[in-house]
Amino acid sequence: MGRRALLATVVIAALAVTGPWLPAYPLTILTQALIWAILAMSLDVLLGYTGLSSLGHAAYFGVGAYVVAVLATEHQMGLLACLAAGVALATATAAVFGLLAIRATGTYFLMITLALGMVIWGLAYRWVSLTKGDNGIAGIPRPTLLGLELFAPVPFYYFCLACAALAWVVMGLLVISPFGLGLRGIRGSEGRMQALGYNVWLHKYIAFVLSGLFGGFSGTLWAYYNGLVSPNDLQLVTSVEALLMVALGGSGTLIGPALGAGIIVFLKNFVSVYTKRWLLILGGVYIGVILFAPAGIVGTLRRSPSPPEAERAG
């Protein structure tokens, strides 16, 4: 584990140092990647560690984003208040949805989370008086943190880097803690965990809520980054992209999904310059990953075959 922490520290330091030297456009893309890395990692806690595949993760991203959008534009509330409110409401949404979804397993869970994600999308789309519908909420100002203006690309980049690092540390501690081990056990064998004495429903529920919490956190940052929040931000494709980031990077590794987020964000922005066929490419990448690299990038790199212990006296 120490190796992983060291690697990530090196990566964060490298990002911190090289950031200011990048031209403005790549820097903003990198900032976007950091925000999505938080979302991907939050989904990994649910999918890679607990073994629950959700197709509605964009809901918490969206709730966090919309809360910031409304509070920042209509009520001129400050950064910390907006972040807190966004995260709180996203967490509350996950708490309610979890009560419904966690009872289900496997396929039902996938469908229920998809449907719940669409419910939030539907609200964003139709509750025009609150969310301004299809047009979305624009004009979200870059915040100030403790008197420091985060308007320019570089300070905002450092702010997002710090948030991503914080999220990574907290989620990293979570997955190596006894609770995290419990989640991995649930992914391995729910029946065994029940037999050992774990209240599996409760552990899954807590994981679901925590996952929604960090998803919401990512959404709050997105609102400030983009300046505009619209129903497109929490449509089904967004949940699908998040799932692909986890699959591409390697589920159950935390750092893998962060990497996956980076790749997808860069790919998306790069591809959109040359063609409008992003969804086609995304779909193709998806199928390719499932067929040829199901363990993702980090997962495949990690796989070190151990010789079977058959020679040992059994």
Binding site: L173, L174, I176, P178, Q194, A195, S306, E309, A310
Partner: protein, 256 residues
């Protein structure tokens, strides 16, 4: 026939089953089973394939709800209690088809068993390694089953025999009061079975053990009391020698 009649008060029993039945559609898998198991008892549950033994274990452990009847664990009615609550009361089980955590290491498997009854299992901000007492307990549990040197091995790379040993280590790591062993020697070679029997003989005598076992020699060797199941019904129940001599049992099972 002695044995099925309860000796002493009901609350003295480690495990008490009263008219427990379970049907699957039209099939009566378990039919009106009564069982009275005393603390510290070693009881073998035998019967032909399909007699309902594993189903009975699933009913006792809470993996399956009964269609009717009562299940009482140390005087507590657990008939409608979920599996994890029964485990918290001191019930542990192994599985006939190995049910471990294949992608985790042997030590991690054991840690899960050890932390299951501790509030530590909800701790989120300290690494597992920061709980030396837990690690110690896990290592000790592994050592008792002679798996101490395999702590860092990933379970899916273990041999079948080692996995069967780990099955038992997990059940014991939680310091159970009642242990349900479902065919502990399933799939083991004769030599491995002998080793397993040796390990089982050294189990803490305070633990109540209920064991399903196909190897008749081992089953009878390790138990004082025997219950024979046939088509979901108890057809014989009592001390080992008495059941061995029962003509009905001989005809159906031992003699066949």
């Amino acid at each position: 026939m002695r044995g099925s009649r309860v000796r002493g008060r009901l609350t003295d029993l480690a495990l008490h089953l009263d008219g427990v039945s379970r049907a699957f559609g039209g099939l009566q898998a378990v039919d009106g089973v009564a069982l009275a198991v005393h603390p510290g008892e070693r009881r073998a549950l035998i019967g032909p394939n399909g007699a309902g033994k594993t189903t009975l274990f699933n009913l006792i452990s809470g993996a399956l709800p009964p269609s009717s009847g009562r299940i009482v664990l140390f005087g507590r009615d657990v008939t409608s209690a979920p599996a994890h609550q029964r485990a918290a009361l001191g019930l542990a089980r192994t599985f006939q088809i190995t049910n471990l955590f294949p992608d985790l290491t042997v030590l991690e498997n054991c840690l899960l068993a050890v932390q299951a009854h501790s509030p530590v299992r909800f701790s989120m901000f300290r690494p597992v390694g920061g709980y030396p007492a837990l690690l110690e307990r896990a290592r000790t549990a592994l050592g008792r089953l002679e798996l101490g040197s395999l702590g860092d091995a990933v379970v899916r790379n273990l041999s079948h025999g080692e996995q069967r040993q780990l099955e038992i280590a997990l059940a014991l790591a939680g310091r159970p009061r009642v242990l349900l062993l479902d065919e502990p020697t399933a799939g083991l070679s004769p030599a491995e079975s002998r080793l397993m029997a040796g390990l089982l003989r050294r189990l803490d005598p305070a633990i109540t053990v209920l064991m399903i076992e196909h190897d008749m020699d081992i089953a009878l060797e390790l138990s004082d009391m025997v219950t024979v199941l046939h088509y979901g019904r108890v057809i014989a129940d009592g001390p080992r020698e008495q059941v061995k001599a029962d003509p009905q049992v001989r005809e159906i099972y031992l003699g066949a």
